[in-house]
């Protein structure tokens, strides 16, 4: 089931292993989504699963996001554990009514009579030169909705095991997989057999500034930390892992230590999850701060196609490092 120890695998393979484990362990688990079966998955995540588990368990759906997400909700209410794949977060807008008005609301509206133990996976983010309708980062938007749990696995370990934990959650869980991570190779520690889906994790300890990030932004942020280290600035990198509920305690602990922070968030700046994080820091760690709060976010434009323009719209390691530098060593 798990890759042999120390063999690097891709993020994509880690996702697939998680799905296989889920299908194998629980007969109530079914997969639904566009082109997940015969096509093998738009990002090849589900390749081979139809052949292995059959078309009752791995269901290719018509192009009906609202229809099959709603079906997933109804099925979850009545005893199945569906894992619905929405091809990308951009298409999820067609199913937003079902997600917000049904999945997130039915447990509450019914006074606790029904749970919706549904998992929805979506590819998210930009960088593939696929233009404005295919490059959104909406995980921060979804994190606004009470009733949902929002996961942003960045490491292969999290891609491998967050799904399994999500299936134990009685609430709807949305998992956002960044498109630029699918090919990323990394070995998973063979001793790890499970992860939590509630805590942020420090990926690099530091003293001078907290770089708070998630998902696709993690590795750019780690690279920024390397750049800063060469200049003698010791950056702490905090991988949020979960955008709802936010691990506020971890955020405050890190900023309380370093007294400075830069939040890295690929989505558009205004009203982003970076704004929420910044506000929480201002609310509860104001007196610890030794510098203004800063964020590095996406440029406020629909994503352009031209490569240099798209790159300019996304956070980059040098931009993250520059933001940190400006508050650690103001000139």
């Amino acid at each position: 089931m798990t890759a042999p120890s120390n063999t690097p695998l891709t993020y994509r393979e880690a996702c697939k292993q998680a799905l296989r484990q889920a299908l194998q362990q629980d007969p109530r688990v079914i997969l639904m989504g566009e082109d997940i079966g015969r096509y093998g998955g738009c990002y090849a995540v589900t390749k081979g699963l139809l052949e292995e588990f059959g078309e009752q368990r791995v269901r290719d759906t018509p192009l009906s996001e609202s229809g099959f997400v709603g079906a997933g909700i109804g099925a979850a209410m009545t005893g199945l554990r569906p894992i619905v794949e929405i091809m990308t977060a951009n298409f999820s807008l067609l199913a937003l009514d079902q997600i917000m008005n049904n999945a997130a609301a039915i447990p509450y509206m019914s006074g606790g009579q029904f749970a919706v133990p549904l998992v929805i996976r979506m590819a998210t983010g930009g960088g593939r030169r696929v233009g404005a309708q295919h490059s959104h980062s909406l995980e921060g938007w979804y994190a606004h909705i009470p009733g949902l749990r929002i996961l942003t696995p960045a490491t292969n370990e999290d891609a491998r095991f967050m799904l399994i934990a999500a299936l134990q959650d009685p609430n709807p869980v949305l998992i956002f997989e960044h498109v630029m991570l699918y090919n990323r190779e990394e070995a998973i520690d063979p001793r790890v057999t499970a992860v939590d889906i509630s805590r942020a994790r420090i990926r690099r300890e530091g003293r001078d500034v907290s770089l708070i990030c998630y998902g696709g932004g993690l590795f750019k942020t780690l690279e920024a930390a390397s750049l800063l280290a060469r200049e003698g600035i010791d950056a702490e990198v905090l991988d949020l892992r979960v955008l709802r509920p936010l691990d506020t305690q971890a955020i405050l602990a890190s900023v309380g230590k370093t007294r400075r922070c830069v939040i890295v968030d690929e989505s558009w700046r205004s009203g982003s999850i970076a704004a929420e994080i910044g506000m929480r820091i201002a609310e509860d760690a104001f007196f610890e701060l030794d510098a203004p709060l800063r964020r590095v976010c996406g440029r406020e434009a629909p994503m352009p196609y031209a490569a240099h323009l798209e790159d300019a719209c996304l956070p980059q390691p040098e931009g993250i490092a520059a933001a940190a530098r400006a508050i650690v060593r103001p000139s």
């Binding site: 030794d290 510098a291 508050i327 103001p330």
Partner: protein
């Protein structure tokens, strides 16, 4: 409910450390009760509350340094609605050491519970943690250079300015800080107050003779010193020149509510303070003597009260035995005059045409020319001379 705030207890005082509470929540107090001891650059000062009521809440704990104007405690005076704050001035500009409580109430005190700004109109950019640390260390942010973002004072800047972690816990005073404060006050005085000077050499032989007879009949503890005569005589002489007794602020002279004479006391280890002896004109000589003795003792040992620092309406600097022949004083703003007495010593004098050895003292008057002139000053000195020539009337 009344908010009892850190009073400004001296020239350029900006913050004080609460070193002792003399009351607890629930204690009933009457106006004038001493409720706390605050340490300042001038030393430990007993602070009085001017309310009747019950201590409702102690806000500032022992050991904490707070700026002038910060709420120290809350007193339940039985009035439900928001009460006016204690009549303690929170000045926007550096204040002199002595200030009458009635002339107070800069608008800042009446409304904002925040600490008084350092300098009128100036905001200091500092990070939240730097600000907090500076308060803890008793540092004035306006003296620090900021190297943080946008030139803000950062934590590192504060730490660099004061490497020691904790403020000193001992009672007593920081001589260096006192000299700084005095220097500031004196500089301001000379800069702002147009001084004029008069002097009068007074024959105090009769007074000293009277003193000797008086003291012979007293137990040692109740004997008077010549200084007591000088003190009382000054107070009485002010009746002839009331515009030497009072304060000058905002282009207005306010006569003092009483004759509260700041008596300059030299402290061991250096430093000079002039706490007020109140209503000297209404004290008998023995009372005046006791008050003087008490002030000097408490000035040296600690235990001076806030009102003693704020209420002087005129000051006397008397150099005593070791001093020079005369002393031209520097007025303590916002007062308008300072009387100086040199050394009482035998000197040649003309008596009825002949030169004799007499006990003489040179009295000087330095006064604010915006409020009085040489004529007034001369009247004062003449009165002083006359009064000292009739010591039994003192």
């Amino acid at each position: 409910m009344i908010e009892f705030r850190m009073p400004a207890l001296g020239a350029d005082m900006e913050a004080g450390t609460l070193v002792e509470w003399l009351v607890h929540p629930g204690d009933r107090i009457t106006s004038g009760a001493i409720i706390a001891v605050v340490e300042t650059q001038k030393g430990a000062i007993e602070v009085e509350a001017f309310h009747n009521g019950t201590i409702a809440e102690i806000v500032v704990p022992v050991g904490e340094k707070v700026p002038v104007g910060a709420v120290l405690a809350r007193i339940d005076d039985g009035v439900a609605a928001a009460s006016p704050p204690a009549p303690i001035a929170v000045a926007e500009t550096p204040v002199a050491m002595a200030e009458p409580p009635a002339v107070a109430a800069a608008p800042v005190a009446a409304t904002a519970p925040a600490p008084a700004p350092r300098v009128a109109g100036a905001r200091i950019k500092a990070t939240p943690v730097a600000r907090r640390r500076a308060t803890q260390l008793g540092l004035d942010l306006s003296h620090l250079v900021g190297t943080g973002v946008d030139g803000a004072v950062s934590l590192a800047d504060v730490e660099a300015a004061h490497p020691k972690a904790a403020p000193p816990a001992h009672k007593g005073f920081d001589a260096g800080a006192m000299r700084t404060a005095i220097a500031a006050a004196m500089t301001r005085s000379k800069r702002e107050i147009p001084h004029y000077y008069l002097s009068e050499t007074i024959d105090v032989s009769a007074a000293l003779a009277w003193l000797e007879r008086f003291n012979a009949a007293q137990p040692p503890a109740q004997r008077l010193l010549p200084a007591a005569l000088l003190l009382k005589a000054t107070a009485l002489a002010l009746r002839e020149a009331p515009n030497l007794n009072g304060t000058y602020e905002d282009d207005v002279f306010t006569p003092g509510p009483g004759v509260h004479i700041g008596w300059a006391v030299a402290l061991r280890g250096g430093g000079l303070i002039a706490p007020a002896i109140r209503d000297v004109d209404r004290k008998s000589l023995p009372e005046a003597m006791d008050a003087m003795r008490d002030i000097v003792k408490r000035a040296r040992a600690g235990g001076l009260r806030s009102s003693e620092f704020m209420s002087a309406t005129i000051s006397i600097t008397s150099l005593g035995e070791r001093g020079a022949e005369s002393v031209m004083g520097v007025i303590y703003p916002p007062q308008v005059a300072i009387v100086g007495f040199g050394r009482i010593a035998p000197r040649p004098a003309v008596v009825e045409g002949r030169v004799e050895a007499r006990s003489l003292v040179t009295a000087t008057l330095a006064a604010d020319h915006r409020v009085s002139d040489g004529h007034t000053g001369a009247l004062f000195l003449a009165a002083l001379r006359d009064i000292l020539s009739q010591p039994e009337a003192l």
